[in-house]
Symmetry: C2
Subunit: 206 residues, 2 copies
């Protein structure tokens, strides 16, 4: 029925492979190997080959991988060989940084909507995008058919906002609010919380 053939953890490594390959390409490189890639990323060569083999045969024995070809293939697999419109919810510092971020458009994303509830912010422009009233969010996201959102609202209102996003048809949420979110099974959430990431490392410090 549903596929679920490919482990989540494999999908999670593909963007990292893609990033490294794109970088090599921009440095004029044409061919690489699982060994080289693995060394750069701190991953075993066997794992890289195994991961890629889930999706097809992209390399040549004796030679390795054509970087441009493999890049294209991974982009197809991840469905970033197109551009996804993204809504930013919350026009604070983080929302502002995301609206201005230059790294999205080469990587399959474009911020097209920004929402806030602050009258002072509504109507102002962030990187040429008009900040809209969060009251409009549900209707407007639905109308635009947007599937991807980045959530930068305060923790207290995050879950309510997510409920609206889900009703609006959002299926992928990058959550900057420092709370766990409950969503239906068909909706994906990724978490970014700098304090959580830092706390991951302090354990190892003295």
């Amino acid at each position: 029925m549903t596929q679920k053939l490919i482990p989540d953890i494999v999908i999670g490594r593909l963007p990292v492979y893609l990033r490294a390959l794109t970088r090599m390409l921009s440095q004029g490189r044409q061919v690489t190997s699982s060994q080289e890639l693995g060394e750069r990323l701190g991953i075993s060569a066997a794992q890289i080959r195994k991961d890629l083999s889930q999706f097809g045969e992209f390399g040549k024995q004796g030679t390795g991988y054509d970087i441009e070809f493999l890049t294209k293939k991974i982009q197809e697999i991840l469905k970033v060989n197109r551009v996804w419109d993204v809504a930013v919810i919350g026009a604070g510092d983080v929302g502002h940084a995301l609206a201005n971020y230059g790294g999205f458009h080469q990587r399959g994303f474009r911020v097209t909507q920004i929402y806030d509830n602050d009258p002072e912010k509504i109507g102002t422009d962030f990187n040429n995008i008009r900040v809209m009233d969060i009251q409009e969010m549900k209707k407007s996201i639905k109308k635009a058919g947007i599937k991807v959102a980045m959530l930068t609202v305060p923790a207290e209102v995050a879950q309510d906002t997510v409920n609206d996003l889900v009703e609006a048809g959002i299926e992928a949420i990058l959550n900057y609010a420092p709370v766990n979110l409950n969503v239906p099974q068909n909706v994906r959430v990724q978490y970014i919380d700098p304090a959580v990431h830092l706390q991951n490392m302090t354990y190892y410090l003295d």
Copy 2:
């Protein structure tokens, strides 16, 4: 010799437990169970008990866990029952958002230094912290004994900057630059790249 008793993946979940517990505490809750916590976080109750049991016995049969007590214990384990000074490298939008972020100080961190190479920015204040010349970085971080840095410089200079940070004594790096970093074994890196996180989810969209 070296401990390495506790799996990395367990350490990685503790900050998430801590965040949920802190939230419950702020809501006036006093006691919870592995089952309740698991439901909130989408993790099995067994896993939560197993994770915690790595560090001691923090619960009571029949009752569950005292939230305040467990919070304190996890803070101790993660070494965030103190305040870590953090240096922000790069005073762009992301550096700015991090300098202003209010979520750090209750969670064990305080931004005390910001660096940039842009003469226009050097000497200005971000949230009452004077932006310093990146030329001073190595000397000044070493002098202050700072162990934790957040890196928000462009990809092209990230590795060089990291090399300096390592020489300065930094042992934990939260990397916002969209590249993999090579560091010695004693240095930890966590990666935040919104495009990578988004690409993790697009695979599952149509």
